[in-house]
Amino acid sequence: MRIIRSIDIPSGSSLACLYREHKIEYPKFFKMDTLCKLGFLATELLLEGDSDRFVPREDRAVLMFSRNGCLANDINYEKTMGDYPSPSLFVYTLPNIITGEIAIRNKYKGETSAFLLEEYDEERIRSIVEEAFQDTVTTSAIVGWIDCRSESDWTCKAFLVEK
């Protein structure tokens, strides 16, 4: 496995500004929770300028890692729960929705998986990604350690890797 490109989104950056700076047109972005916004933007930045984008493909996996998953958004949903539970917040209370958003945007029909680890563990992540390449269809992957501790405090590293 080799890393082709990598990207970092510093904690606390304005994600809406980043979206506009890169002239992205995808109104659904504003419906996403912070975790998905980070995954979406990180992938946009990783793939910016690629000529073969948005062509449906099955050979690229999306593998996301974190400690807290979607807990920052769980708190938002929990606030609506006793009154009018919000379906649009509830759909983001799953740690793997970030992988689905990236797959939908990029038309990736390959594997998508979300893993949670107690801490950032490069060796562990590397071995899980290498194991994912046992699937003979998978030849590349978007990999991220995207951990949202709150809506303004996160670690966001993402990589494009090849088998």
């Binding site: 109104p27 009018y84 919000s86 379906p87 649009s88 759909v91």
Partner: protein, 86 residues
């Protein structure tokens, strides 16, 4: 009716996170779903059901019934005028 239409547009923009849109961007008669118009989806329908209940005291039985009401802003406004309890 004019005021209600504007009020509906503002609350829909807020409830559905339609970033960067203003009431003037939404045509009163444009379809809300599908590729034309606002392009709303099934989750948006559910949020609109809540909006009608919360703001106007209207309880629709199912998303299916909602689909009939949520054809356009004008249709929603008409429905709200006829059925609101608050």
């Amino acid at each position: 009716m004019e005021d209600l239409i504007k009020e509906l547009k503002l609350s829909i923009i807020e409830a559905l996170n339609l970033e960067g849109m203003t009431p003037d961007d939404i045509d009163d008669n444009a379809p809300l779903f599908g590729d034309e118009g606002l392009g709303l989806d099934s989750i948006d329908v559910l949020e609109l059901l809540i909006l009608l209940e919360k703001n106007y005291g209207i309880r629709l039985a199912s998303p299916k019934e909602g689909q009939k009401v949520f054809q356009s802003i004008a249709v929603i406004a008409q429905y709200v005028t006829e059925n609101r309890t608050k």
